[in-house]
Amino acid sequence: MDATITLTVDGRERTLTVDTRTTVLDALREHLDVTSPKKGCDHGQCGSCTVLLDGRRALPCLALAVAHDGADVTTADGLATDGELHPVARAFLDADAYQCGYCTPGQVCSAAAVLAEAGEGWPSAVTPDLDAERVTLDRSEIAERMSGNLCRCGAYANIVDAVASVAGTDGGAR
């Protein structure tokens, strides 16, 4: 069965007809040629497809497209504004926080969301004070919050450096 839906992808409204079994990830990659979100597992286990779905990080391989008619999707590509890289993307370049690059767009989207979540006081499993208004993104907070994004190249140490540099918790190391 097919359905026609509209998605706003990186600021552009796109109307498309999909099989009702199509995930948001396949809608992006196979229907709209938006391949910034990567497919590493298709089961919500690796994080490489991470995008911002209506402003929050989400795994589009676990979301059916028909259930997200009208949604707003921002990919790592769409995080750039006026041709300028997002500060997180810039920090990934500076820290060499990637190797093959396949997990990277997902890492960048996740990191952008982590900064916002911490700013809003969302606690994680390692947050000492659950009622704090803001969470300081020290290394253990960053590592914990970025652990849904696997990197087989093993860039984790540099990923934490990159996120800490944007969060301002790297002591100016970079």
């Binding site: 079994r21 396949d26 497919k39 370049l93 590592a143 087989r152 190249c153 984790y156």
Partner: protein, 703 residues
């Protein structure tokens, strides 16, 4: 022979960010399955559900009735392949099943959903034979392969190790095991294949560690001229060996493409399919015996390995070769024996041989240090050989001792109390450990490179094209080859543009054996030297020349390896047995480091994969079904961000003119060598519990 001349480093050795970085952090770099082609056909395979036997019937009618299905391929109707000598590549040619998860069919459809539904509806009937799928030295006939990967002697014997063990003052005699592990690059193996029937050409967008290898293998299997197979692979989402050899998935996609001439067939593997079709590391059982004086000087070193191979195709991991070159001992023996099973074909996984072999060898050395009451850093220094212990050749350069000393210094080793199970802080036992790393320095002949000069008339700025069908699988090859070319030509690195990953440019050897930069870089240097010899310093627009990787005559005279020392701090929870690794440091001696940014990433990437092997990785084979039961990333655990603490790598400056004109040694694999051992050794120091298997489990630490 006089000492060979090395390139003067100007761009080499300077930190340079990856040239394709902006495309990777935005996701606009196109990986194999992402090339936009019109009207693709999606492929979903049908996999054997028995481990051994044969297909007796296939009913495709329900699949063909699915809306959107274009074609169904099975063992009954696939095109005949020209070369069926390699059973791994003999896809859909007969009804025999050699392992569970083997291809028995494929459904092609206009959408991925229809292809998957169609594949579900193919009804296959089997006749199953008796089988064995789990390594068991007592159940089968172990045999000695003719050679171990790629062409090392199966056994090596020097002196009389048994007699020396009998006379030794101290003996360590223990068996170590490592689990089956799967490479699991984050980008699944993927291809898009177009068959042009006019003239008979394949165009293959592939995720591969070597486009030239894919081209020649496909040409052989299909009986075609290599020139009629184009392979394009600009970006590769990791491989770690599993994309080094051709695997059956590409053959299947090519067979499918012939069924729908002119239409691109798109086949990205699912994560689950990667557990049976694209290689893995064999489990190992390693019996190590060390004989030594009370001061810890080795008199005997024996490393006997049992591991598995597949009835479909032999692969013999060279696990004991690590023990052939690292420590001095007058009496030594290494052996490899295989158990042939009805399982998927094992293959290369990062540092085949050295990775599992170093786990056994380096934990055994830690046991010897404890038995002799000698500091484990000092023990390794005491057993440093003057020359390669087996061949007697001098090392072209070897700085293991310096790595150990530098690492010990930086890690604060001198403050270490050797007593095990002596530090309990907040419920965590804490300890530290050391292990050595080594990986051979390889360079393969067979690569070419083109250098072309441009001087656009308008502004007169010069520009150089460097073209070689190398692979950048995340190593930074594209960036580093530009640095090499700049120094070989004596030009500004920003004027050099490098093209890799395309059979339209001169062929290159595979990104494997940590040989890529050495092999490809040598071809680039050769081309640069020929260019200058022919055109001098004032070339004309469009001048170009081709070069090739020369043989290295020095490898007959010298043993060549990179070395390193790894240190780790481990915490083991006293009540739960949870293992954490808050600190890990690697110090390496690997020739000239051509790009400190990408090199450090490769070192810590290897160390992280070793940490992952120590803590998590374990493909669980079901003996009743021949199936890896934990065949996805929720159940096959790899290290995540929170597993990694303070991790760093550094290196000592090493001049080695004999390895290649850049003076560089391969660095893609050495980081994983010794990494699992150092975690196990630190865990022993923390808890007093000697774990002789990887991965370590919480059970090991609980009474």
């Amino acid at each position: 022979m006089s000492t060979p001349e090395m390139l003067t480093p100007r761009a080499m050795g300077t930190p340079r960010r990856r040239v394709e970085g902006p495309a990777k952090v935005t996701g606009t770099a196109r990986y194999a399955a992402e090339h936009p082609l019109d009207r693709p056909v999606h492929l979903h395979p049908v996999l054997a559900t028995i481990p051994r036997g044969r297909v007796t019937a296939i009913d495709t009618s329900a699949a063909e009735a699915v809306d959107g299905v274009v074609a169904v391929l099975t063992t009954r109707d696939a095109d005949a392949l020209a070369d069926t000598s390699d059973r791994e590549f003999t896809v859909l040619q007969d009804d025999e099943i050699g392992f569970r998860g083997q291809y028995v069919g494929a459904v092609l459809a206009d959408t991925p959903e229809a292809a998957r539904e169609g594949a579900d509806r193919v009804e296959v009937t089997y006749e199953q034979d008796d089988f064995r799928a789990v390594l068991d030295p007592d159940a089968g006939e172990l045999y000695a392969p003719d050679a171990v990967n790629p062409a090392f002697a199966t056994d090596s014997v020097i002196g009389d190790a048994d007699a020396a063990l009998g006379e030794a003052e101290v003996v360590v005699d223990a068996t170590y095991t490592t689990a089956t592990t799967h490479n699991n690059p984050l980008e699944p193996h993927s291809s898009i294949v177009v068959w042009e029937p006019d003239g008979g050409r394949f165009t293959i967008f592939d995720s591969t560690q070597g486009v030239s290898t894919t081209r020649s293998n496909v040409a052989t299997v299909f009986g075609m001229d290599e020139a009629d197979v184009d392979v394009i692979s600009p970006h590769v989402g990791g491989g770690f060996g599993s994309k080094g050899n051709l695997h059956a998935n590409v053959v299947l996609a090519c067979l499918a493409a012939r069924r729908v001439p002119g239409r691109p067939v798109k086949y990205p593997l699912t994560r689950q399919q990667m557990f049976s079709l694209v290689g893995y590391r064999t489990p190992t059982i390693q019996h190590v015996r060390l004989g030594a004086t009370r001061e810890g000087r080795l008199s005997a070193l024996v490393h006997d390995v049992v591991e598995q191979t597949s009835r479909t195709k032999e692969f013999a991991e060279q696990t004991a070769t690590y023990s052939r070159s690292v420590y001095a001992a007058p009496h030594r023996r290494t052996t490899h024996r295989l158990d042939m099973l009805d399982v998927p074909v094992p293959s290369w996984m990062r540092a085949p041989g050295e990775c599992p072999g170093s786990f056994a060898a380096e934990v055994a050395m830690d046991e010897l240090a404890v038995a002799c009451d000698v500091d484990p850093v000092e023990l390794r220094i005491r057993n440093e050989p003057d020359a390669d212990p087996e061949t007697g050749k001098p090392f072209s350069s070897r700085h293991l001792v310096e790595c150990l000393r530098r690492g010990a210094d930086r890690f604060g080793w001198s403050r270490r109390d050797p007593t095990p199970r002596a530090r309990l802080v907040d419920g965590w036992w804490s300890g530290t450990g050391v292990a050595a790393s080594a990986y051979p320095t390889n360079r393969s002949p067979g690569s070419g490179a083109t250098i072309r000069y441009h001087r656009p008339a308008a502004d007169g700025a010069e520009h150089w094209d460097v073209e070689i069908a190398a692979a950048d699988i995340g190593t930074g090859a594209r960036t580093v080859l530009g640095q090499i070319a700049a120094d070989a030509l004596g030009v500004d690195v920003d004027t050099v543009e490098v093209t890799v990953g395309d059979t339209a440019v001169p062929p290159a050897t595979v990104a494997g054996g940590s040989s890529g930069t050495a092999s490809w870089g040598s071809a680039v240097v050769d081309a640069a030297q020929r260019f200058r010899a022919k055109y001098g310093t004032d070339p004309s627009d469009g001048d170009e020349i081709e070069g090739a990787t020369p043989e290295n005559d020095w490898s007959e005279h010298y043993a060549m390896s990179a070395f390193g020392a790894q240190f780790a701090e481990v915490l083991v929870h006293a009540d739960t047995g949870e293992v954490r690794v808050p600190r890990m440091l690697g110090v390496f001696a690997a020739g000239r480091i051509l790009n400190p940014v990408t090199a450090r990433s490769q070192f810590i990437g290897g160390m992280t994969m070793g940490l992952s092997m120590a803590l998590h990785e374990d493909s669980v084979m079901d003996p009743r079904s021949g199936h890896v039961v934990n065949h996805d990333l929720a159940n096959y655990h790899i290290a995540s961000c929170a597993d990694v603490g303070d991790m760093d790598a550094e290196w000592i400056d090493e001049e080695d003119p004999y390895v290649n004109p850049m003076g560089s040694k391969g660095i893609g694999e050495i980081g994983i060598v010794g990494a699992a051992a150092v975690v196990a050794n630190a865990a022993y120091h923390a808890t007093g519990v000697r774990v002789r298997s990887a991965p370590m489990l919480v059970d090991h630490f609980l009474d």
